[in-house]
Amino acid sequence: MGSTKTMNMIEAINSALDIMLERDPDVVLMGEDIGYFGGVFRATAGLQAKHGKTRVFDTPISECGIIGAGVGMAAYGLRPVPEIQFADYIYPGLDQLVSEAARLRYRSAGDFICPMTVRSPFGGGIFGGQTHSQSPESLFTHVCGIKTVVPSNPHDAKGLLIAAIEDNDPVIFFEPKRIYNGPFSGYYDRPVEPWSKHAASDVPEGYYRIELGKAGIVREGEALTILTYGTMVHVVQTVVAELRVDAEIVDLRTLLPLDVDTIEESAKKTGRCLVVHEATRTSGFGAELAALVQERCFYHLEAPVERVTGFDTPYPHSLEWAYFPGPVRIAGAIEKIMKD
């Protein structure tokens, strides 16, 4: 791994891609505007110039084609890493993901596999309106045969992305775009804090992996368990500090396969559990988490598992801070759980 460097999320992701392009000639990046331009969020900046046009290239605006061609490349033996410019635009490629990428190994009994990692910025908080803010992760967790990963900081982003690219199954890698440039306290009216002030911006320059399927405990605690991921990890941390509640905060990192042991152990220990995500509530991944926790820890629970989520509406452009599951919503839920 060698020395470390201060990186924001974009730099960490760029570094992971750079290293994998270097290490493995089978790795190929493609997507809309990712070549010469380096991507609308700059995640692939410089990589085409460094690794060549046949390794890092622009594609037509066809998410179906991007993922479909990726499946074919993976079947050939490459490790494609397509980018979908915004998660909101993944639907035209969904059939290739759920009916093909996720099924290849199963339906061919291992004859053909699909080691493809689909990267996509997701989530809101940047005034992106309803088509640049969505969090569709729960859809993917319902589809068997695909892994779903969401990093919450530069260090994890790099290690998880490398592990995803090396994984022999398709992985959807959602990058919380709100925290590309700095962690987010949840207070949109306070100045943005850069990643450099956060410990997780200290990122090894070389190769390292963070195993998929393992959660991270961001804060140990006894009073309640908070299950969360992505941007919300930071918002939850702010609120927990403000409320001075002794919460155990679990950053799931991988939604599928889920680190059920860490979850179960924590929930049994604290007896109270809150799930926090930005996606809409109904049938969001919080539903699965709540169902699982009560199934497995029922007799340890002293209060119902609560969910703090986005509302069941499209992400509204101008009212995004009333929509966003921010500090007030989280604090309310924590208070309720602790009172129950």
């Binding site: 505007d33 070549g35 309106g129 309803q130 452009h317 101008s318």
Partner: protein, 427 residues
């Protein structure tokens, strides 16, 4: 893994690359511009198979000497020409002002249509006012041509208290049913099959209204494009399917969309749809092409596919800097010029316009837009409190609000009280 047969040459992957990148001097001298009437205007009832060549030609009316010539000349009177010029100038004035408003932090986002105004304005003028338009995000010229109130557009851009769309949509994603203008989607090309469906519906009811749809050349790669073309061909739908080929899709040049091997207009041939390639910076050619297509549709001669060959003069949106991916000053070198400038010179040549009138109109429109902007800003700008009531967020998800949204709305209201104190009142 790789298997190389020694007697065979290795395969190569071709990655298209634009001719010019930042630092290069753009030179478009290789773009060939056919003479006017290189292919004459065919009858509107022509069978698509008989007019393939139009997909590889270029419908033109305004010649280099600024005269209107040839069989496509729509012979508009001076009043119509001046109106067309005015609509294009208004669009440009509006774009300039709103771009600046975004830069001043008054809203989150803006997209200009500079250089492409003819493809919205002239097309809208050639349609009937109740023909249904399914625009992409760069056809503000349609609304301005159809007389949609400018202040409403601005209210939408500012997501303010008077925003008809209740601050829900990203700026410029207008919706104007009373002006037969469909709600704009952030998802590219989805409007294509919708426009075809609308036209099918109109035809199935024996209506007389047709529909027209626009997308960028980059967007033609989406599957929706193909579905739309297929449905339009199968059901002979009265729809005009248009591609604004402005050479760029954010940072990707048209070669990434398949423009290296043939014209975009050629896409239509494969479906047996009449297809035209048109000088998109020639407002009279654009008008003539749309008129031809609309007449076909109205007489049950079916769909027409049109490529407007034009150039995106500015950045993709306020979110990007074109200097990072293309040569500077490309637009100035664009061989087909600027539509506003070309129509102006034509009118002057006709003796129906003057530099002075032009300048005066330029100022008049700038003032109009500025004055309207003030009016709109009195209703609020983005992020400064004068937005729609918070509860509106929960409306229109469904016709009637189900229990779970009511609960969530109550929760949101309670959160606002907690946040802003007991004085807070839902507006």
């Amino acid at each position: 893994m790789t298997s190389k047969k020694s007697n065979l040459a290795p395969l190569r992957l071709h990655i298209p690359e634009p001719k010019f990148r930042p630092g290069d001097e753009a030179d478009f001298s290789d773009i060939s511009i056919p003479a006017i009437d290189a292919i004459a205007r065919p009858d509107e009832a022509s069978v698509p198979a008989d007019i393939h060549s139009l997909a590889f030609g270029l419908v033109r009316v305004l010649d280099n000497d600024h005269q209107a010539k040839g069989s496509w000349n729509p012979n508009l009177d001076a009043g119509q020409l001046r109106l067309m010029l005015r609509n294009m100038m208004l669009t440009r004035a509006f774009d300039d002002r709103m771009f600046r408003a975004q830069r001043q932090g008054k809203t989150s986002f803006y997209m200009k249509s500079t250089g492409e105004e003819a493809t919205s304005v002239a097309t809208a003028m050639a349609l009937a006012s109740d023909d249904m338009c399914f625009p992409s995000y760069r056809q503000q010229g349609i609304l301005l041509t159809r007389g949609y109130p400018i202040v409403r557009m601005m209210n939408q851009i500012y997501s303010n208290s008077q925003d008809h769309l209740k601050g829900r949509q990203l700026p410029i994603m207008y919706s104007a049913p009373e002006h037969s203008f469909f709600t704009i989607s952030g998802n590219l090309a989805t409007q294509y099959p919708q426009a075809v469906g609308w036209a099918m519906a109109s035809a199935s009811r024996g209506d007389t209204r047709i529909s027209a749809v626009w997308c960028g050349e980059g967007s033609t790669a989406e599957g929706d494009f193909h579905s739309a073309m297929t449905f339009a061909a199968v059901y002979n739908a009265p729809v005009i399917l248009q591609v604004v080929n402005n050479q760029w899709a954010i940072s990707s040049f048209s070669g990434i969309a398949g423009g290296e091997r043939t014209t975009f207009a050629a896409r239509g041939l494969g479906y047996g749809i009449a297809s035209l390639r048109v000088d998109g910076n020639d407002p009279l050619a654009v008008y003539a092409a749309m008129r031809w297509a609309a007449d076909r549709a109205r007489t049950n001669n079916g769909p027409t596919f049109i490529e407007y060959f034009t150039y995106r003069a500015e950045g993709h949106s306020t979110s990007d800097d074109p200097g990072a991916y293309r040569a500077a000053k490309e637009f100035e070198k664009w061989p087909l010029g600027d539509p506003v400038d070309r129509l102006k010179k034509h009118l002057i040549l006709l003796g129906e316009w003057s530099e002075e009138q032009h300048q005066a109109q330029h100022e008049e429109l700038a003032d109009l837009v500025k004055k309207t902007q003030k009016e709109a800003e009195a209703n609020g700008i983005l992020g400064h409190g004068m937005h729609q009531p918070f509860e509106t967020m929960f409306e229109d998800v469904f016709e009637e609000m189900p229990w779970h949204l009511k609960e969530q709305c109550d929760q949101m209201v309670a959160e606002q009280y907690r946040k802003f104190g007991p004085e807070w009142e839902p507006k």
